[in-house]
């Protein structure tokens, strides 16, 4: 995955043929959609919450450099060590350096999408460090050497029988079971031992509050609290868009995040971390590091439309509501961030040459924009990705803009334009299509288009012509 070549069409074809996979996704995502509706109030109140959440994130983006400076200053005052990384490679090196400075070989991890973006586990393993996922879903797929297929429920593509086999095959002395309670108990026993003995704990960050230098993490399992409390060192990683201005921004953001993600009023734990262990305190890490990652984000900020990608709070609800994602699942996208948000985020991070194709997997049905808690105009940005991939006007800004530009398409669109500009040409083309349109050779793009669609039939006479024959003068 990741930087490997993405054959999206092959992935989609394979996923669509996998009935088990489709059944697993459909059942899980339908449940999530229902739970979301059940926990949100009436439409009018939802819109007021969204007003607040959108304002909080757009305000933060409008003041991003000041807020990041303030966050850094407050964190430093509180005793948190702040690091900056332009690229994922730099962020990985920083974390390796922290591990080495403590002679640490065991990292226990809470769920973090940024660490997936960094491919941190693989990187650390090549340097002899065990990086263990402790969120149950992440733990399951790590045992099976798979990436997450959903940003909130990473093992959503597995059913209980598959999980039972993964445990039996990979954990010592564990017999097969497909009883969910027993599977959870196995994970509890295995992982509590790891929390007790881990050298360093790693977490993501849901919101970083500039006003107080506080890192806010939400979770249900308690593994996040374990990772950020039991080991003597805590490392938090975040994308630079996670900062918000003040604590008062949190209530609507938290409420919408958990409602959108899992249909909950609140998670089991909201964990607000402001400093390492102080004099006299009995537990908590003695050292906290915050790694702030750019990886293409500051470039998105410079464009009024693209910057709205950075409003994302990673709730995953656009995945749950996407007719394409529901049918193909997360792995087909071959990227850390799948689904609608992935279609706009991934091409901007990895470039249009490599990942621009993801933006084609949308019917622009607008479901994602309708449910987005912070109102990211995802379909509009998907169209922007498509336009920039061809970049006819040569004014693109996204990495790899113009990557799909080609002579055939340029000529076709030029022809289309001329046909509508020059009346004589229009009449000629329309009459030709009426006569020969149904006899076009079934090759190239026409063949691809008609492989799963019925080819349109051309009317022998155009509407203009019919109107004229009917004697309508001012059509």
């Amino acid at each position: 995955m990741g930087s490997q070549h993405l054959d999206f069409t092959a992935n989609v074809t394979e996923a669509l043929a996998d009935r088990q996979l489709r059944a697993n996704f459909k059942s899980a995502l339908t449940g999530l959609m229902k739970k979301r509706v059940a926990v949100l109030p009436n439409a009018e109140e939802i819109e007021r919450m969204r007003d607040d959440a959108e304002a909080a994130k757009r305000n933060a983006l409008a003041k991003l450099p000041e807020l990041l400076e303030r966050l850094e200053r407050k964190c430093t005052e509180n005793g948190i060590i702040v690091h900056w990384a332009e690229t994922t490679a730099e962020a990985n090196d920083i974390i390796l350096g922290i591990m080495r400075s403590h002679d640490a070989t065991k990292l226990v991890k809470g769920k973090s999408m940024v660490s997936e973006e960094m491919h941190l586990n693989h990187f650390l393993e090549t340097h002899g460090i065990e990086a263990l996922e402790t969120d149950l879903g992440e733990f399951i797929i790590q045992l099976n050497h798979e990436p997450p297929s959903h940003i909130i429920v990473p093992a959503v593509h597995k059913n209980r029988q598959q999980v039972g086999r993964i445990f039996a095959d990979n954990l010592e002395g564990i017999p097969y079971t497909d009883v969910v309670e027993e599977l959870n108990a196995i994970a509890r026993k295995t992982l509590r031992e790891k929390f007790r003995t881990g050298h360093v704990g790693l977490s993501g960050v849901n919101f970083a509050v500039a006003e107080t230098g506080t890192l806010v993490l939400v979770e249900n399992e308690g593994n996040g609290r374990m990772c950020t409390t039991v080991p003597p060192v805590h490392v938090a990683v975040m994308g630079l868009e996670k900062v918000v201005e003040s604590l008062s921004d949190l209530p609507p953001l938290l409420r919408l995040l958990t409602a959108s993600a899992t249909g909950q009023l609140v998670t089991t734990y909201v964990n607000c971390i402001t400093s390492p262990r102080k004099e006299g305190e009995r537990d908590g890490p003695k050292e906290i590091h915050l790694v702030i990652l750019d990886n293409g984000r500051s470039r998105m900020l410079a464009d009024a439309q693209l910057r709205r990608t950075l409003q994302c709070i990673r709730c995953g609800t656009c995945l749950n509501h996407c007719p394409v994602y529901i049918r193909i699942g997360g792995h087909a996208y071959g990227s850390v961030y799948p689904g609608p948000i992935g279609k706009i985020l991934t091409p901007q991070i990895d470039g249009l040459a490599e990942k621009g194709v993801l933006a084609t997997a949308s019917s622009l049905c607008n479901a994602c924009e309708e449910v987005c808690p912070v109102r990211i105009p995802i379909p509009g940005i998907i169209r922007r990705m498509r336009t920039e991939a061809y970049d006819e006007k040569d004014d693109g800004v996204v990495k790899g803009h113009g990557a799909k530009k080609n002579l055939l398409e340029t000529l076709v669109w030029k022809g289309w334009e001329l046909t509508y500009r020059i009346p004589a040409l229009n009449r000629f083309v329309v009459s030709m299509l009426g006569k020969f349109g149904d006899k076009l050779p079934n090759v190239g793009p026409l063949k691809a288009w008609t492989s799963v669609r019925t080819a349109p039939r051309f009317a022998p006479k155009s509407l203009h012509q019919l109107a004229k024959e009917e004697g309508i003068r001012h059509e």
């Binding site: 304002a55 730099e90 149950l136 509890r188 609140v266 909201v270």
Partner: protein, 218 residues
Amino acid sequence: MSSTARDRIFARLHAARTTVSPYVPRGGSWQAPMLDKDQRIELLKKRMETVRSEVHVVPEAEWPAKLLEVLKAREPQTMAYGHDAWFGGTLRSKVKGKGLPKLVPYGENVEAFRDELFGIDVGITSTLGGIAENGTLIVWPTPQEPRLLSLVPTVHIALLKADTIYSTLAEAMREMRWAENMPTNALLISGPSKTADIEMTLAFGVHGPKEVIVLVLD
């Protein structure tokens, strides 16, 4: 001197603001309803019970009796607590005898206490307050009552004074002046640890407590 990653990131961030107008939509219109005291207790209880917490509302003087009842129903072997918590003395005088756990004070640094703590059955803590709107306990651990008391033992018992229950999170943040007083770690806790990572089937007690029991002292 060569520029650092930080310099290069900030150069781009500052440059970006010159290209985009600073339009920001107006927020601040959403607020959950404010409730009176009885409504706050009732809603907190309802919300917490929905996520499988056990909530008992008892007159202030009767909480030790309720605690003993809760403990006797479970017969735990050990209970960790903060020696200097406001209720420490009461525990030491009341939690004695058959069917009641041995009291273990969290009196050392975690490095020395960790292995014992992971085997303890019950952790009991005070709370700074509660929030009715989302059914959570506000827990700010202290040197007297460390963070892991509410996480590692199999059962977490929390004492909550009814007059510290707020209607909303926003109100709690304002009234308690969070912005000026953020502690090392501030927690909201709504119930036992849970997961739905396998087939979206909800199960409790995955890493942290399997049970959360709240005594609301009215």
